[in-house]
């Protein structure tokens, strides 16, 4: 009896210890707060009153915090050297810089990075040589970047020299970042550049050419011009970029030079159009014959027309004078976006006919069909129909597009039969073969233990069915106990990893002050993609809140996915949208776009209006439009904390590995106060089901995702808030849709994307990282009644089954690393098959105890292993999640702890059963996507 009791006591003690840790955390954060308060006061006293008596001892006792706060102070106030001197002196007296300079030579990159970031406020004549040496010798580029900013802040010659040396051997992305940083080069740049203008090494040239962007000088112009045809491609592209921005005229001259290379020709065509008014159309037409620059010429012309709309008429006239069909179609392409304007702006719409016809020839059907679908003046409508009628016969592609997207009325008029392809093309996700395989797997898994047990017992107990059942129950519950213990042990390991991950994230985040993050060139640019479907009531608030995010370089792309209500109308009115014809950067097939708009109210906002195609399709459209480094997919009804993007992107810039995806932390918004689309107060929901989910989310994000991320085996990034590298997403053809190369839809498009990304990266043998930002919070609504919760979980599980079936080749395949060897097998064992054991396990355990089949000792062990262990995991998750940021008040914390006990009696079992039913349901029939019913946020009475 002693052992089971010991086990029980052990788990109870562990739970109590976790509770104590939770309380200790609160206390510790209070002491930390008081300490930083004292240092803050001492620092501001020193700055404002020149009183440094208190500061010295504080710096000695808490050097790290003091330095961090001093850095923050420097980020808020630009102090004169005299004001800053006493404090700087105090830090020097504490000997801090010596220790940090030593750390710069540490073999551990983490320590070097810490030192590089910490030394920023201590840059001086004495420390500069060491920093420069470290910059030149550093291997990792994210550390080099931190050092570059450090040395540049000194504005000394040797700093520029060191940056030049670092640039000589570096990747293109590092060069881009440095280019950004040099746009704020100190004034000392010009004399330095003049002295170094004769140097031949590419690094120096790159620094001069980048810095020249912010210092227009006659001799720098000549310098740029001289390097436009440089042999080193990096130097050349840098010169071209600077010239295009500052001196387009010297590039424009190159446009007609026949022997110029392709890069400079493309840039020079752009520059030529940029500086000309009125544009010489005859000269431009020449470019249309060269396939290498044709696209640039067309895009430049389209931009020219949207800049000077009055010129559209002249371009159209010119088009009529052309004979060459290639040139004509190019002009038509540039005019396509202006077609509606041209149609109504004059009494003679007939003149637009060639443009419309060329559009069809070029395959620009979407715009034309959208134009037809708009309610026009009947005479224009008729005219348009007459123009396109011949093509419905001659052009099968146009015909099929009409069949799918044209209004019914017009379609009948053109005598086109409706297409059989449904608009939202959810095809059969699993083939019959897939389903048969899954059934086989399930049968094997379920029958195998029974068969084994039966085989063992058969000889002894033939005929005694009672004993057989009894033994069966006993063995099964043992098996179940081992299963639960194994699962919880795995969780425990993951939690330990998560703790490590969290500590690292906390440390890096404290190293990244806002001034650094906002320095140009440090953070990657981001497009936020917000699909919206029938959200006219909430979309304005959501977009307003997205436009207030704290991030230096981002844009918001709202994608109206063919809403049936007036979503696009409210957006147009609220944000003063104007139609633009932007170049699309991607080629993922999507439902046709009706129009792209930019807001005059806030240039960060773009809106795409498109035909309905589902969430994944909408996201793909956004990916096509975006030209930023990363895309961030969000649900348009979830709330993102203002600094969440910064915290996510911090994951990208604190490593040299290519980060292809970063997940955000999802928390239930139920119960919180939300006003004007912004979170006002965090509180726990009063609804029991929402509270259970709060615990569940905390646990799965801490114990699940953070741990997996530490192993680089994270495969689930929620579609509600995830950051992805755009080039990689493009490479794999975007989200899976019925239109893409895969010809099928999934309900788990977010996870599917990650799995496919991993697969591609591994297949092509590239290194990658998938991270999870534990403090980048996104608040989303969770279901508050069992029915919607059931539907949601059913959908999630079906998504999981689909993905695992499609990517089954990856399971257990060492080629796919951790993802193949650990993550996916984990999903198969514990998420696909496990629920079946749980389905039977819990009832049998109770049954066994009640009927006496299970010895009380065994029951106690099992109880500890299953329930108390599970509780422990929840508690530790709570401890970790409350470590740095306090979300919940003590009373709410008590409620949460209570619920984490209660959820073991019913809720968790229920969630397991949903999976069983979902799995079985999938084998029987395929279901469509079911939209979660949403309640809308609690709006506090004004």
């Amino acid at each position: 009896m002693a052992i089971p009791i010991l086990i029980l006591l052990f788990f109870i003690a562990a739970n109590i210890a976790a509770l104590a840790a939770l309380l200790y955390n609160k206390r510790r954060s209070r002491t930390d707060y008081r300490r930083s308060l004292a240092i803050r006061r001492a620092l501001s006293d020193a700055v404002f009153l020149g009183k440094t008596v208190d500061l010295g001892p504080l710096i000695k006792r808490h050097p790290r915090i003091s330095l961090r706060l001093w850095r923050d102070l420097g980020g808020a106030l630009a102090l004169s050297p005299e004001e800053a001197e006493p404090v700087r002196e105090a830090f020097f007296q504490a000997g801090l810089q010596k220790r940090l300079l030593g750390a710069l030579r540490s073999p551990f990159p983490g320590s070097r990075y810490t030192a590089a970031r910490s030394l920023k406020p201590l840059v001086s004549q004495d420390t500069l040589p060491n920093l420069c040496a470290a910059l030149v010798g550093e291997k990792y580029e994210y550390i080099k970047l931190a050092l570059t900013l450090d040395v540049l802040s000194s504005g000394q010659d040797e700093a520029f020299d060191a940056v030049a040396a670092a640039l000589s051997s570096s990747s293109i992305s590092f060069f881009r970042s440095v280019q950004g940083m040099l746009s704020l080069a100190p004034a000392a740049f010009v004399p330095w550049a003049e002295r170094r203008s004769g140097m031949e090494d590419p690094g120096t040239k790159l620094v001069i050419l980048s810095g020249a962007r912010s210092y227009p000088e006659p001799w720098l112009k000549d310098y740029v011009a001289a390097h436009l045809a440089h042999d080193d491609p990096r130097v050349q592209s840098c010169a071209i970029a600077t010239a295009e921005e500052l001196y387009p005229e010297i590039l424009a001259d190159l446009a007609f030079a026949p022997d110029a290379d392709i890069v400079s020709r493309r840039a020079s065509v752009r520059s030529f159009v940029k500086i000309s008014f009125p544009l010489n159309l005859h000269s431009l037409a020449v470019f249309f014959e060269d396939p290498l620059v044709k696209d640039v010429a067309v895009a430049s012309l389209a931009e020219y027309i949207s800049r000077y709309p009055e010129e559209a008429e002249r371009v159209l006239e010119f088009l009529h004078c052309l004979d060459d069909p290639v040139e004509r179609s190019a002009f038509s392409q540039a005019l396509a976006g202006r077609l509606p304007f041209l149609l109504i702006s004059s009494a003679d719409p007939e003149r637009c006919r060639p443009v419309a016809e060329d559009c069809i020839e070029l395959g620009l059907n979407a715009g034309l069909i959208a134009l037809l679908n708009t309610r026009w003046d009947p005479s224009i409508q008729k005219l348009l129909l007459d123009w396109v009628r011949p093509f419905t016969v001659s052009n099968p592609h146009f015909r099929s597009d009409c069949a799918r997207f044209l209004n019914e009325e017009l379609r009948t008029e053109l005598e086109i039969a409706p297409s059989e392809v449904p608009k939202s093309s959810r095809k059969i996700p699993l083939t019959k073969l897939d389903r048969a395989a899954l059934t086989g797997l399930l049968a094997a898994v379920l029958i195998l233990p029974a068969a084994l047990i039966s085989a063992e017992l058969s000889t002894a107990t033939i005929g005694k069915i009672g004993i057989l059942v009894r033994e069966y129950v006993k063995l099964f519950t043992f098996g179940f106990g081992f299963y639960a213990a194994a699962l919880n042990c795995l969780y425990l390991v993951l939690i330990l990893l998560a703790g490590r991950n969290l500590r690292g994230q906390g440390r890096y985040w404290s190293l990244l002050d806002k001034e650094y993050l906002f320095a140009p060139g440090v953070l990657p640019s981001i497009s936020i993609l917000a699909p919206a479907y029938n959200e006219e009531k909430t979309v304005v608030q959501s977009v307003h809140s997205l436009l207030t995010l704290e991030y230096p370089d981002y844009q918001v792309i709202v994608i109206n996915d063919g809403s049936k209500d007036d979503t696009i109308g409210v957006l147009v009115r609220e944000f003063d949208l104007e139609r633009i014809d932007p170049p699309l950067h991607g080629t993922i097939p999507t439902a046709p776009i009706r129009g792209v708009y930019r807001s005059r109210y806030n240039r960060r906002l773009l809106v795409i209006d498109k035909e309905n195609g589902g969430k994944a399709d909408a996201l793909n459209t956004g990916i096509n439009l975006s030209d930023r480094e990363y895309i961030c997919s969000i649900d348009s009804d979830s709330l993102i904390e203002p600094d969440a993007l910064l915290r996510m992107a911090a994951q990208v810039i604190t490593t040299d590995a290519e980060i292809i995806a970063v997940g955000g932390n999802i928390l239930p918004v139920n119960g919180c106060t939300v006003e004007r689309g912004m979170l006002q107060q965090i509180s726990l929901s009063g609804n029991r089901i929402a509270r259970f989910q709060t615990i569940e989310y905390l646990r799965s994000f801490i114990a699940g995702r953070l741990g997996w991320a530490q192993l680089n085996g994270l495969l689930i990034i929620s579609g509600a808030f995830g950051l992805f590298r755009r080039s990689r997403v493009m490479e794999i053809g975007g989200y899976m849709t019925g239109r893409g190369e895969f010809q099928r839809d999934t309900v788990g498009e977010d996870m599917e994307l990650v799995v496919r990304l991993v697969r591609r990266m591994r297949d092509t043998g590239r290194k990658y990282g998938i991270r999870y930002a534990a403090t980048a919070n996104c608040w989303t609504e969770v279901p508050e009644d069992i029915r919607s919760l059931y539907k949601q979980r059913d959908r999630w599980h079906r998504g999981l089954v689909e993905i695992i079936t499609w990517h089954r080749r990856m399971i257990g395949n060492p080629r796919y690393g951790i993802a193949g060897l650990i993550s996916l097998p984990y999903f198969v064992i514990f998420e696909l098959i496990g629920p079946f054991y749980e389905f039977a396990g819990y009832p049998l355990m109770v049954l066994g105890f009640v009927t006496g089949a299970l010895h009380p000792q065994v029951f106690i062990i099992m109880f500890s292993a299953v329930l108390l262990f599970g509780l422990l995991i929840s508690m530790i998750s709570l401890v970790l999640s409350e470590r740095d940021i306090v979300y919940f008040k003590p009373r709410e914390l008590r409620i949460l702890i209570m619920h984490s006990v209660m959820e073991n009696f019913g809720f968790r079992q229920l969630m397991g059963w949903v999976r069983v039913f979902a799995f079985v349901g999938m084998l029987v029939k395929n279901k469509g996507w079911q939209k979660l019913e949403r309640k809308g946020f609690t709006v506090r009475a004004a």
């Binding site: 803050r40 501001s44 700055v47 404002f48 706060l69 923050d72 102070l73 420097g74 980020g75 808020a76 106030l77 630009a78 102090l79 806002k514 001034e515 906002f518 307003h544 207030t548 704290e550 991030y551 230096p552 370089d553 109210y601 806030n602 240039r603 960060r604 203002p642 600094d643 006003e675 004007r676 912004m678 979170l679 006002q680």
Partner: protein
């Protein structure tokens, strides 16, 4: 004309607004008349005239000459209207009273000599005039007369040991904002109730303008007043009469600390109020629930008020110190939700805001301010790290002309604020 018991009852009703219930019943017990629940005399002397005389005598003995004098006007008028003789107290002390309290009493005496009907309505009007409609306390007008009547006389008699305690309901702006204007009145009424229930014998309450009450405490020094203020704060904190937790803060002005020359009749009110205003302004800095008993943290001459909207606590503190060093009075809020109410409360000369603040960002705050007729003219300065072409565009669209990138140069920020305040001043002129 009503009977004498009714007249007494009515006077008791008036006094109820000034005295605490126990205090009133103690005072009434002195009169030797028994009173019922509704403060109407139930038994007394056989002759109603004797009852009235005893009543007035009792009040005089218990509370000094002020209170009989306070009700004198109405009593005299009523009696005169009924053709009854003037009570002995008023006959005998006419002269003494008028010397002591010439403001109030002289008015009553003068009135007696004039047309009775007119007197009647005028007295009622007077009562209206000196009573605050919300709390039923005597108002600031009467407070002024009270000071002017009482203090110079005491000062002449020797050293004045009286103290005036100012009590302010801190959160009224927020209450009104959240629950509507009645909530503020309700809270004031509730506070009035608590004050009365905790009234000391030597104290008289007045309702000043806005969320401010005053208490004249005779024969009481600063320390005692401080203790009393603490006591009141605690009572308010314990009470559950309010729609949400409220705070009161207190400013104490000891008459003994004032220059005796300033205790003259025409100077005393202005003098007390000057010191009081200074200390109330300090309360704003000390935050809700504070007590200011002296102006040691004396206010420097402020060259303007600045509202600072900044979420980061450290940066807010730095900015505040910077502004104060520049000679400005700075009020800070930490999120967008509080910004507009704070602007409404403090009416700053300039608003300095970060772009990134929670609940409402800098631009949304600006938009809200533009919607308000009173607040849209306050110059708005943005200070943010996120200054980029897009943000600057938006700022200009909202009429924000000054946008600084952090780290901000102190001299630049202070100079801009000073210039903005100067421009506004010259515009007004």
């Amino acid at each position: 004309m009503s009977s004498i018991p009714e007249l007494i009852g009515r006077q008791n009703g008036r006094l109820k607004g000034v005295f605490a219930p126990e205090e009133l019943s103690a005072a009434l017990a002195e009169t030797g008349i028994a009173f019922g629940e509704d403060l109407l005399p139930v038994s007394g002397f056989t002759d109603p005239r004797a009852t009235l005389d005893a009543y007035l005598d009792g009040l005089m003995r218990a509370k000094g000459p002020l209170w009989p004098a306070l009700i004198q006007g109405e009593v005299v008028t009523a009696l005169a209207a009924a053709g009854m003789p003037i009570p002995a107290l008023y006959r005998d002390t006419d002269e003494e009273l008028s010397r002591a309290l010439d403001g109030q009493v002289a008015l009553g005496l003068r009135l007696r000599r004039e047309n009775l009907e007119l007197q009647q309505s005028m007295i009622e009007a007077l009562d209206e005039q000196i009573k605050d409609p919300v709390t039923g306390f005597y108002n600031e007008e009467f407070f002024k007369e009270y000071l002017e009547a009482g203090v110079p006389q005491r000062s002449a008699a020797g050293k004045v040991e009286d103290t005036v305690l100012f009590i302010r309901l801190d959160d009224i702006q927020r209450l009104n904002q959240r629950f509507g204007a009645e909530a503020g009145d309700g809270a004031l009424k509730g506070l009035g109730h608590i004050l009365l229930n905790n009234k000391r014998e030597n104290g008289v309450f007045f309702r000043m303008g806005g969320p401010l009450f005053s208490c004249y405490m005779s024969g009481c020094g600063k320390d005692a007043a401080y203790e009393y203020a603490k006591h009141l704060q605690q009572r308010v904190a314990e009470s559950n009469e309010f729609i949400q937790n409220i705070n009161i803060s207190a400013a104490i002005v000891d008459l003994a600390e004032m220059d005796p020359a300033h205790l003259a009749r025409d100077l005393v009110y202005a003098g007390v109020m000057k010191v009081a205003k200074e200390r109330i302004a300090i309360l704003n800095k000390l935050g809700p629930g504070s007590i200011c008993r002296d102006s040691e943290i004396s206010l420097r001459r402020s060259s303007g008020t600045v509202l600072l909207i900044e979420e980061n606590a450290f940066e807010a503190e730095l900015m505040r110190r910077l502004l104060e060093r520049g000679g400005f009075e700075a009020h800070g809020v930490a999120n967008g939700g509080q910004a507009v109410p704070a602007a409404d409360l403090h009416r700053p000369d300039v608003i300095v805001s970060e772009m990134y603040v929670s609940q409402m960002d800098g631009f949304q705050i600006r938009q809200r301010l533009l919607e308000s007729q009173d607040l849209k003219h306050i110059p708005f300065v943005l200070v943010s790290r996120g200054k980029d072409p897009v943000a600057v565009d938006k700022a200009f669209a909202l009429g924000i002309r000054h946008f600084f990138k952090k780290p901000v140069m102190p001299a630049e920020l202070l100079g801009t604020i000073a210039a903005l305040i100067k421009d506004a001043a010259s515009e007004r002129r």
